[in-house]
Symmetry: C2
């Protein structure tokens, strides 16, 4: 997470001083510049797209997300995803929901984001 | 949501054909180009920052989000936020959590996103 992209994402989507101004951020809750949680979520999605090989793609129906620790400039993030459950659709026999748990860590293996998401999956040959 | 920004956000954060290629998107689950749900979430955050006046800013601890309907190019989004609950912190008397429910609608008043978020709030005079 470069400082430049943290500032750029925040100025477009989350223009609050702790995300957009390193000096002003000192006096805030974060005590310094922090990435928007939505930036962390978006970068996590990029890592998921590159690493979770579902035939029909990753189509999210919903997500339960938490940000236990701020992401800082120059942090290096990685994600570990576990498939927790597969729930067949009751109404549509060609599909179901997969429950994925994705944990986003920084370079010190501290957890910056947890995300339990439901994604639409298709039966083999139906996608 | 312009087509250009839908494509731009997706190429950076969610490079799947239904978000990045209007032609290829026709044959997918979405039947046409759709915005990444994380793009909808980020734009919703922008609308929240502009409309919810908390003294210490909007500091999210977590969020429960769903995307019942895709956002399409040229959709115009608006958000209605309701404060559902205020939960004082047991360990830190200067702060608490506010539970905010934000519903993101398109121009036809169809719900594109629901988001129940927990944000850190400070007692008056303590922030």
């Amino acid at each position: 997470m470069t400082r430049e992209r943290i500032l750029g994402f925040a100025s477009e989507f989350d223009p609050q001083s702790f995300h957009t101004d390193a000096d002003a951020a000192q006096a805030t809750f974060f005590g310094g510049l922090a990435a928007s949680g939505w930036h962390t979520a978006a970068v996590t999605m990029r890592l998921l797209v590159e690493s979770v090989p579902f035939a029909g793609g990753l189509i999210g129906a919903g997500s339960e997300i938490s940000w236990p620790r701020a992401v800082r400039p120059e942090d290096q993030l990685h994600v570990i995803t576990t498939a927790r459950e597969l729930i067949p659709s009751k109404s549509k026999p060609d599909r179901g929901m997969a429950v994925l748990e994705s944990i986003t860590y920084n370079q010190d293996d501290a957890i910056c984001q947890t995300n339990v998401s439901k994604v639409v999956v298709f039966r083999r040959g139906e996608g």
